[in-house]
Amino acid sequence: MKDQAVEHLKIAVTKVNWFSTYRVHHRVADSFRRGRIFLLGDAAHQPTPGIMWSIKPPPHRHEFAPTVFRYGIFCIGFAAANDPLTSRESVRLEIVPICSRSLNRRQSLAKFALVRRSSARRELDTTVLNIELTLASIIQGVALYFLIDNARNVVALRDLRSTAYVAAGLCVIFIFWSRSIIHTLTLIAWPLEFGHNFFYIACTLGESVLFTCIGRPKAWFGLSTAYAAVVWLLFLYDLRLLRTRAREACTDAELRLYGAATADQWLNIRLLIPALFAFNLACLIAIYLRPVLFLNRGAHYYLCAAQAAGFVVYLWYVTRFFATLAPLIAATREE
């Protein structure tokens, strides 16, 4: 008994009557019944270290035998408080500590025990979520104002070719707004992340400045390049938040949600945003190297149309990504 956890309890053992070791299991039989054969207790279901056990009422009325399951150490309070109701709630609460994947993630058992978030915490989470959703919409609204302001000239001058710039600008707003909404729905919870928000507001400033450069290729692609770099940093910064959430994750739905979000984050960091950066940089260099072609003969409009097309493809990817996340987000909210 040399473990720190035991030492700290200051126990002086005078006699050991029994000692054994065991491993944590998380197993469920494929079926509790096959014809006339029934499985009960550990034979059917072995969720956590066997410390307590309880008889559960049969899940279906036609199964006449009382089913005996074992439950783990952290069910104590929840189970005792909720069991008599045998409502869905009580079943859920008992299952919570069984997700031993948290253990697997070297998570502190202190956190493990407090997995059931309090209602006060949930209220704070909701408040923060609302703040973020409002912020995302408001600042993209401000960016849209800048775009409209600059697009007015395009319309007034009947400069049809410059609509490529307006389209690209509009796509930037669409992308930024949808990404931030997804990000908020997936990750945002109490406590409020000031760093993320300030970064985010600064990004919108960059976006607004970009919109003042409609029809000015050098400035447009220069700013786009810089903007891609900043967005890349934002993705990198958000990895931190993603890791925190993934560590706190307990339910299967949460683990899958953060798994999908992390995969998307890395795809953006490794491929998509660097590609955006490279494209804009290449355009900028091309404009500097061939000013006659790109500026005087107006080929920059084609560059901008290509940029807009790229944005549309990215936007398509974002909507697809959200379609895969949506059921997971719903599942985590149901917990």
């Binding site: 035991v6 309890l9 005078t14 029934f38 104590i76 005792a80 993630r105």
Partner: protein, 239 residues
Amino acid sequence: MSETPVLIVGAGPTGLVLALWLTRCGVAVRLIDKTVEAGTTSRALAVQARTLEFYRQLGIDQEVVAGGVKISNLNLWVRGRIAARVSLEDIGQGLSPFSFVLVFPQDAHERLLIKHLVELGVRVERQTELLDFRSDEKGVEARLKLPNGSQEIVATPFLFGCDGASSSVREISGIGFPRGTYSGRFYVADVEARGPATDDQLHADLEGADFALVFPLKEKRTHSTRWSNRGGEGPSADV
């Protein structure tokens, strides 16, 4: 070939309660177990309120409560000091007549269930092993190995596998038992000990991924401690 309305394999808490319940319902059972005697260690020791509510239907609830220790507090220790105390005395007040956390070790629990079965005339057939069985829509034919080494064929309409994690009923049926075992190891001991954590309360020490729990037991002021080493790396095997 003999016949029985119900054959139960495994006389742990699961099999014993099932036998007791069915017997009370007027269903005759045969209860077999391959071990020589019932368990003698605490093992699964906390009993939930819902279990006691079912026991009340069987009329054995008061005996179980009297035989166990009601845990008044859960003490959470951090770095050698009690950091928090959670009162468990009335944790489910208004929800259950058994609004507390009860510690009743599995050996005493099994003894009590066996005693009640004996009163009803049901005996656990020890050193009796299920070798295999065949089943169809009409019934099950199980082959048992008896204590004297001879074999017996039992025909039964229903076979219940209450034979634990390494269930032979499950294996013979070919029912999968997926997911895995985590590499983190747990230790459990029944000890006689001294110290501030050896009162009649539940003590838990949480150190990072480690933890230790001390449960009070009734007999000879002994305690059951359970603790773990580092959290593991994930399931070591699937199936």
